[in-house]
């Protein structure tokens, strides 16, 4: 356990893995596999479960491909073109996986961690307290930013929904008058060329 070989193998795996996020919660493993099959062989798909962040945030997954080249291909295509999985128009995002993303990663060999306890009479106690306090503030800030971000996303989604509806209505209108002959009649009335079908 914790040998260099195991770690090396793990690193190898990391290189082949792509981190994809902004996924819809409805995306399942077969869907992912299907989606990324065009890039090569998908070895495994692991969704990252969300235990901490409240609310509805997009899912993310670690996809292990067969080779690093395939992983690179996935990343480059997804970054260049908006790639959508299971719905549109929100594109997914892909980036190269990093070791920290795997929670079952083996220990890094030759790494030693040191820690200390600090008590009241320790000169650094005050500072540690401040640090702790600071970290709490930071996590609150992060939470807040997260909330804001989600709000923005919803806003955008709503806006786009409206746009889409409007477009669709227009389209339907056009469709309607074409199909029930209104357009043709009007054209004859106004003496202009009747519109073509299709």
């Amino acid at each position: 356990m914790g040998t260099s070989e195991e770690y090396a193998a793990f690193q190898e795996k990391v290189k082949r893995t792509v981190y994809i996020d902004n996924l819809s919660p409805q995306v399942t493993e077969p869907v992912m596999k299907n989606a990324l099959d065009q890039f090569g062989n998908v070895n495994s798909v692991q969704f990252i479960p969300n235990y901490i962040v409240p609310g509805n945030i997009p899912k993310c997954a670690l996809v292990e491909m067969e080779s690093k080249k395939q992983a690179d291909a996935v990343i480059s295509v997804i970054t260049e073109f908006p790639f959508m999985i299971s719905g549109m128009p929100r594109p997914v995002r892909a980036s190269a996986a990093v070791e920290n993303m795997f929670d079952d990663r083996p220990r890094k060999p030759d790494r030693k961690i040191h820690c200390r306890w600090l008590d009241n009479d320790d000169p650094d106690f005050e500072i540690a307290k401040k640090l702790k306090h600071l970290s709490q503030i930071h996590s609150k800030e992060a939470d807040f930013l997260l909330k804001k971000q989600l709000q923005e996303e919803e806003k955008l989604a709503k806006k786009q929904q409206e746009e889409l509806k409007a477009h669709y209505k227009k389209h339907e209108l056009m469709d309607g008058i074409m199909s029930d002959g209104t357009a043709k009649r009007l054209a004859r009335l106004y003496n202009i060329r009747p519109p073509n079908e299709g």
Binding site: G2, N22, P25, Q26, V31, N34, A35, I48, P49, N50, Y51, I52, V53, N56, P58, T79, P82, F83, M84, I85, S86, G87, M88, P89, R90, R93, V98, D103, R105, P106, D110, K112, I113, H114, C115, R116, W117, L118, D119, D122, D124, I127, A128, K129, K132, S135, Q136, H138, A142, L145, K148, E152, E153, E154, L156, Q160, E163, L164, K165, H171
Partner: protein, 618 residues
């Protein structure tokens, strides 16, 4: 467009002439020109407007000439924006930054053009950040001020992007395309610098003039007068800031300097030089004068430190020191004089010799706190390290690996002893028993309230390391899993779930955490608290996936571009409506990324400041 136009109308004026054409003696070459009040010199980067294009074209002026017909032309070698060469970017790694340009090179169409000089709309500040040996490296200050940077070339013939710079581009030596060495000529004025600095300590104006008058007739065919315009604005700002720092009372000197700059062109070189050397001292244009005081103190403190170690820094240093620092007689202070030779690197050279000093300068983060303590403490801490001859290793930032190994057994000892977290005993035994899936364990633990969320960990910890850590710290065997990097957890802090054996154990651990602190090597206190798992609700809605209410199933016409697609994955084509929507999402994604990045940076800074106060080494 021509010749009959009066110069005054457009405000066009030639600068110094540098010669006539070889082939055609009637062509005159110049090394600068002034247009609408702005002076453009050879090898400046300028912008051209193009009809219909929201962005200007940027290029470098490589020749400035007047034809026999009195046409004023400039030869421009282009600096491409990423969008201009997007078809050839391909997988250019790394992806171009938003302010990155590509220098045209090679042979072919698009390398350069001859344009009318009057069509120049403005100058822009473009810095070359290439690692090429021939390129003077820009200082941090320059990087901050730069509008654009470039370090890659785009060969217009081969349509290739490369980080290598050929020896010549478009007939000119490539050195001209790198950052200009502004202060090459200032070999002589070592002594002059000293004069300049006296000005700061003794504020009376006459001396100022004296400094300015020192003759500095430096014949410079390629004088960088153009950049002066910018520098002069900064001088006033910088000068006033230094004043604060030096404690000198008169604000007149600042104004006078400004005046001096406007006056002539020659003496300005000295002022620029002054400004350069001052960069280390007061680069920011913020109105917050506190940081600079400290910075100066800290900076100057280092030099006398070698002579009197342990001298506590006081603010009175600031006044006396400038002279001190730049006095030739003190051997340690030759750094500054060396600085004049390598203008690009002034800020680093000031502290060149001692490596710990260099790191020290990089660690400056003057903004945010108004608390002057951190700097003092930092100085003291650093002073100790050279005393220890620790070859540059500072007491504050010690990466985990280089921590000196304390010979600690696996026994747990507390209270100021450093615990080395090694493997727990019986580690292998865990795999003997069949383990339940992690999810179930989590749920169970939450029910029995023995679930603790550990925060503030180093993201590179692995789960087993966390377990070991807990074992050593509490003598409790636990199971832990790092929380995986989800969509929004890209922060310097990492979290882990820890399952204690029982509620009691969990509670006692939390109590311990509340009363005293467990510190990790980089100074972070590990925080643990009870946290409930997030209840996953029915995730049916997903912001960003749109659906139409009515769905015309039978007739799916090809031209219904905005009809909802499919359950399969696809890339969109650029001509669809959904492409536009997708782009909007992309934009939002990028924006949010930026937000997170800035937040994390800010948090990191705050953290580092506090951490720097930790006196005890781990």
């Amino acid at each position: 467009m021509l010749g009959w136009r009066m110069d005054n109308e457009v405000g066009f004026k030639w600068g110094t002439k540098i010669g006539n054409g070889v082939r055609n003696k009637d062509i005159q070459f110049f090394n600068s020109f002034t247009l609408r009040g702005i002076e453009y010199s050879l090898y400046d980067c300028v912008c051209f407007y193009s009809v219909g294009n929201p962005e200007t074209y940027i290029g470098k002026l490589v020749k400035i000439l007047e034809t026999p017909n009195h046409e004023r032309k400039v030869k421009v070698v282009w600096l491409f924006r990423p969008t201009e060469i997007r078809n050839y970017l391909g997988n250019a790694k790394p992806q171009p930054q938003w302010n990155e340009l590509f220098l045209a090179s090679g042979q072919g169409k698009g390398l350069f053009n001859f344009n009318d000089a009057e069509n120049v709309v403005g100058k822009c500040n473009v810095i070359c950040t290439s690692d090429d040996k021939r390129n003077p490296q820009p200082s941090e200050e320059e990087l901050r001020k730069a509008h654009y940077i470039y370090y890659r070339t785009f060969d217009v013939g081969k349509t290739e992007i490369s980080e290598k710079f050929p020896d010549e581009i478009c007939g000119s030596k490539v050195e001209f395309f790198f950052n200009q060495r502004k202060y090459q000529r200032i070999q002589k004025p070592k002594i002059k610098i000293r004069h300049e600095y006296q000005l700061f300590t003794e504020s009376p104006s006459p001396k100022l003039n004296k400094g300015v008058d020192i003759p500095c007739k430096i014949p410079s065919p390629a004088s960088r007068n153009g950049s002066l315009v910018k520098e002069s604005e900064n001088v006033a700002g910088k000068a006033s800031l230094v004043e604060h720092g030096c404690g000198s009372s008169s604000s007149d000197s600042a104004k006078l300097k400004y005046v001096a700059v406007e006056g002539g062109s020659e003496p300005d070189i000295q002022i620029k030089d002054r400004v350069r050397s001052l960069e280390m001292i007061s680069p920011e244009k913020t109105s917050h004068s506190q940081p600079y005081k400290k910075r100066i103190i800290a900076l100057y403190d280092k030099s006398p430190a070698k002579q009197n170690s342990g001298e506590t820094p006081t603010k009175t240093f600031a006044k006396a020191v400038p002279e001190h620092v730049y006095d030739k007689s003190v051997p340690t202070n030759n750094h500054v004089l060396e600085a004049s030779k390598q203008p690009g690197d002034v800020s680093l050279n000031l502290l060149a010799n001692d490596k710990s000093r260099v790191r020290f300068s990089k660690m400056f983060s003057p903004d945010s706190t108004s608390h002057s303590q951190p700097y003092k403490k930092r100085i003291i801490a650093l002073e100790k390290s050279p005393a220890k001859q620790n070859s540059g290793e500072t007491a504050i930032k010690t990466p985990v690996k280089s921590v000196p190994q304390h010979a600690f057994a696996k026994s747990v000892s507390k209270n100021n002893h450093v615990l080395e977290v090694s493997r727990q005993p019986n580690y292998d035994r865990r795999s003997w028993f069949k383990q339940q899936p992690w999810e179930e364990k989590l749920q169970k633990a939450q029910e029995t309230e023995s679930l603790v969320l550990l925060e503030n960990l180093d993201p590179s910890f692995s789960s087993v390391e966390v377990e070991d850590l807990i074992w050593h710290a509490f003598n409790e065997r636990v199971e832990a899993r790092m929380v995986q990097f989800g969509t929004f957890s890209n922060s310097p802090y990492a979290k882990a779930f820890v399952l204690f054996k029982s509620k009691v154990a969990a509670q006692s651990a939390i109590c311990k955490w509340n009363s005293s602190f467990l510190i990790l090597p980089d100074g972070r206190p590990v925080v643990g608290r009870q946290r409930n798992l997030r209840v996953s609700d029915q995730e049916t809605t997903f912001a960003g996936h749109l659906a139409l209410d009515r769905f015309k199933v039978p007739k799916q016409r090809e031209d219904q571009r905005n009809a909802v697609a499919v359950s399969t994955a696809h890339c969109t084509q650029t001509n669809t409506f959904e492409f536009d929507l997708a782009m909007q999402w992309r934009e939002l994604q990028e924006k949010t990324d930026l937000w997170w990045k800035t937040l994390h940076e800010k948090q990191r800074k705050e953290e580092n400041e506090l951490k720097s106060q930790l006196k005890l080494k781990l």
